[in-house]
Structure formats: C-alpha cells, structure tokens
C-alpha cells in the first residue's frame, strides 16, 4: 500500500512539467559544476609541484559537486515537498485517501518515499557522473559512495521536514517558504555558533552531520541522527493528520 501511494505521488510529479523541469535544471547545475571541477583540477594540479599539495581527482571534483548538491537541494526540496499535503488540503482530495482502506502511517510514508524516490533519481545521476571518471582515472569508490549515502540521508531529512510543514498549512507557497527558512537555519546552525563548537544546539545542525560523509567518513552517530530526524518529523506529520480526523 505504501508503494501504491508512492507511485501515485510520482505519477503526480511526472504528469506536470514541474517534475521534469526540476529534474533537468538540477542535472544541468550539477553537470556544470562537475565539468568546471574537472577543468579546474588540471589547472590547480599543474601548479601544485609538491606531492603533499596534490589531491586525488575524486576528492577534488567530488567535494565540488556534492558540496553544491547539498546546497541546491536546500532550494529544490521545499519546491517539491510543498505540494505533498497542502495541495491535497486545498483541492480537498484528502478524503479520497482517508476513506480508502489505508492507515495514516501508510499515507505519510507513501508520500515521503514517493518524493525521496524522485530525488534519488537526481542523486543516482550525480553518482553516475562521478563514476564516469573511472573511464580515465582510477577513482576512490568508497569516497563517492559515502558522499552519495550522506547526500541521500540529507535529502531524505529535508523531505521529512518538508512534508511536516506541508501538512500544517493549506497554502503550498507558505509551506515552501517555511520549509526553506527552517532548513536554512538548520544547515547554518553551526556557523552561528562557530565560537562554541561543543554547543548542544550546534549539534542539531544538519551540515555538521553531513560533513563527515563528505570527507568519506561513515559514522553511525550521524546516520542515527538523520534517521531520528526523519522519524521525528514523519511522526509529527502523522499526528497532524490524525488531529484533522479528531478535531475536524
């Protein structure tokens, strides 16, 4: 049943130009940075004479592409997640889902995985770009895979927050703006608190937990953080929808 709702969401995304346009734009931006990364690699490396100045092509291009990807997703996810529930509220299509034999958990999970699947397409495209380097150079597979995993978890967290904000309002645009601001704050939390790295609030920053992945380090603490973040917001969404039923 979760799969059926996810399929419905994907169908909705792809039946309007919105899905295709966002997919194409994202790919265009990532490919541009990928290309620029390779260009700059040769320029920089030809100037770097000493061996300790030299870094591998995977790390150089990878940090470029994945760095920008995490930033671009900050804008892309609110645009995609804003419609998930608020649009259904506005078009009054929620009764269709509520009166079908589905639990609220299934509805929310289905919507979440529908959106995550859509964004996974982009992440896979980035991955395949990176692996295409393997045709000319010997790349660091582990580094790329850890970056992909990190980006995927980051994007899934964005989606979870986005779906919750979407469930609280009827206006998709309001949902998009709130999601964007919230995500932006969560990403930059450690910048605000740069002076005090041990601060508990800084620990909530999503970027802080993405950073080890981008260095190629897969830490279960960071995975746990992302998973907890996702579970929390999905639970809140379910509670929010249940309140609809209870309070009317």
């Amino acid at each position: 049943m979760i799969i059926n709702i996810a399929r419905k969401e994907l169908k909705g995304l792809f039946s309007s130009p919105m899905g295709w346009v966002i997919l194409a734009l994202l790919q265009f931006v990532f490919a541009t940075f990928f290309l620029m990364g390779i260009d700059q690699y040769f320029l920089t490396m030809s100037g770097a004479m000493r061996p300790d100045q030299r870094i591998g092509v995977t790390e150089f291009v990878g940090s470029n592409v994945f760095g920008i990807a995490s930033f671009i997703m900050l804008f892309a996810v609110p645009l995609l997640s804003m419609r998930l529930i608020s649009e259904e509220r506005r078009q009054q299509t929620l009764p269709f889902l509520f009166s079908a034999p589905l639990s609220l958990t299934e509805i929310v999970l289905g919507k979440f995985f529908g959106l995550v699947t859509f964004l996974t397409i982009t992440i896979l495209l980035i991955g395949s770009m990176m692996f295409s380097l393997n045709l000319w150079a010997d790349i660091d597979t582990g580094f790329v895979l850890s970056n992909i995993a990190g980006l995927w978890l980051l994007v899934a967290s964005f989606c979870a927050l986005g779906i919750y904000v979407s469930s609280t309002t009827q206006q998709p645009v309001v949902a998009a703006i709130i999601t964007f601001v919230a995500l932006f704050a969560l990403l930059l939390l450690d910048h605000f608190l740069a002076g005090d790295p041990s601060n508990t609030v800084a620990y909530l920053s999503l970027m802080k937990h993405f950073e080890p992945f981008s260095r190629g380090l897969v830490d279960t603490r960071d995975i746990a953080y992302f998973v907890l973040f996702i579970v929390t917001f999905l639970t809140l969404t379910i509670r929010r929808l249940d309140a609809d039923r209870l309070r009317g």
């Binding site: 049943m1 059926n4 709702i5 399929r7 419905k8 169908k11 909705g12 039946s15 309007s16 078009q91 009054q92 299509t93 929620l94 009764p95 269709f96 889902l97 509520f98 009166s99 079908a100 034999p101 589905l102 639990s103 039923r245 209870l246 009317g248």
Partner: protein, 311 residues
Amino acid sequence: MTTITVEASDLTRKYGGRAAVSNVSFSLNKGEVLGFLGPNGAGKSTTMKMLTGNLAPSNGSVKICGIDMIEKPKDAKALIGYLPEQPPLYRELTVDEFLTIAARLHRVSRGHIKKAVDIAKQRCGLTEMGKRLIENLSKGYQQRVGIAQAIIHNPMVVILDEPTVGLDPIQIRDIRALIKELGGEHSVILSTHILPEVEMVCDRVQIIHKGSLVFNGSIDVLKEQRHGNRLLLGLHHPPATESLLAIPGVESVDAVEGGFLRVHHTPGHVPAEALVQAAVSQGWGLFQINPDQTSLEEVFVQLTFQEPAAA
C-alpha cells in the same frame, strides 16, 4: 433475510461546545437506498464524514457490516465507497489514471484493475472520457468521475454527498437511474436537498435538523403525509358552504385564494364523483377538481419547524 450493512448508534460530534450532530442512530439493510435530508448546516455532511471514518465521532459508534469503524478502520473502510461534497479528484491526471489509482488504493486485485476501471466507467457513462484530463472535464463529468471512484471496488455501502449537484437534467436522470441500480446489490446513503429526488430514488428517508433526527422512516410514510384527504375544487359560482357539506363524505370546506375551495373528506371515501354531479346539476361552473397534495417541501418545512414550536 435482511442483513444490516450500516449501523450507527448515538453518533455525536461536538465542535467546541456546540453539537453539530447529536445522538443520531439508525441502521440500514442491504439493498436499501437511504435519503438524508436537511436544511443547510443541519449536519448531513458531518454525519457522512463520521460514517466514512473521515471524522472521529465525539461519542457513539459506527459499524459497517458488523465491523467497528474505530477499532478496525481499515477493514471497515474497505467496504465503503465515499463521494464527498467536493469530489476529490487529482486534476492533473486522466480519468483512466485516476480510476486506476483509486482501484489500487481500494485493494482491487492486480488482475482485476483494468476490468474494474472499465466497468466503473461504463456505469457512469465515462467510456469516451478515459483519455481526457480530469481538469478539462465539465463539472457534470467530474461529478461522474467522483461517483466512479466511489463504486470502483464494488463496496457494500456507497455513501454519496449531494451527488446530483451541478448536473444537467439528463445527467441527473442517468445518475438517479444509476443510484437505483446500485441500490439493488449495495446499500446506498445519499444526501440531497432536492426533495423530489428523494421520492424518486430512496426507500427510506431521514430528515436531520440542527444535528438530530426529526424523521426516520419509509418513504411511503412521507408520501402518505403528503397525500392528505383533501380535494381542490375550482368553481366559478361557488354555492353556500352548507350545500357542499351536505354531500356525503365532505367534512369541512375552506376557501383558498384564487377562487378555489379546499374540501376535506373522510379518509378512504373520495367524494369526487358526487361533487362533480352536484356541480353539473346545480350549475356551479366547475373548472377544476384534483387531489390536493401537500408538496414534499411543506412536509419538510413542517418537520423541520416542529422543534422550535415545541420548545
């Protein structure tokens, strides 16, 4: 043998301190069509939302074919097809795509989805519209798509909230025929404020007013109240009341505006023939005689205004 498909007991829904629906209880048998009548804001839609599990009742319970809606919502919902007031349609999809999704979500088995979609389209007269975007359909066709998604999984109970709103007269006739047809094998609950519609399609009627049931019974009872023991008589030269009262069966006579007389007669004994004979032989100038029916509207108004009078 009759089987009870819907059983509502003491349904109450409060918004803040105000009860939108209070203590509504009824049951519905298989194959019956139940009409839900009431003025605006009476609680029709709220009751329907509670029946379909879209709204949790503050008190009371709903059982669909014996399955409790609150304890086992998924199993109970699988037996219901629901068309809300505003048909829930994904406008960016085509009719076929939308109905396929509806069938999938309502647990229609994979192999039967295509067939179920075709049957639902055929029953709602949408066969030609399969490839059209819902967005581009007229209001009437959108309404039909809404009905199609409610009956796609062949539910035991079909609940339609004002299904004929926005349709043209021919479509209304088709939809009424469809509802009658559905009544054969499913139970149907429909709400409406078009009174003749109720008389045409429903077996039973419930009138709800200010959140509580004021009438619950077979449509025949309502019809009987409607066909009172009265005749409407149009005379050019009306005689004195006494000469009318002399005719056997006539109990009383009132004058109505427009030169008409309303003749109350004893039940089961219609003095029409005697009246006509008297009119002809005595030259009263008879130009009209017909049974005087209270319109359904009047019965409805009577029932919904009883309460403030009693209070």
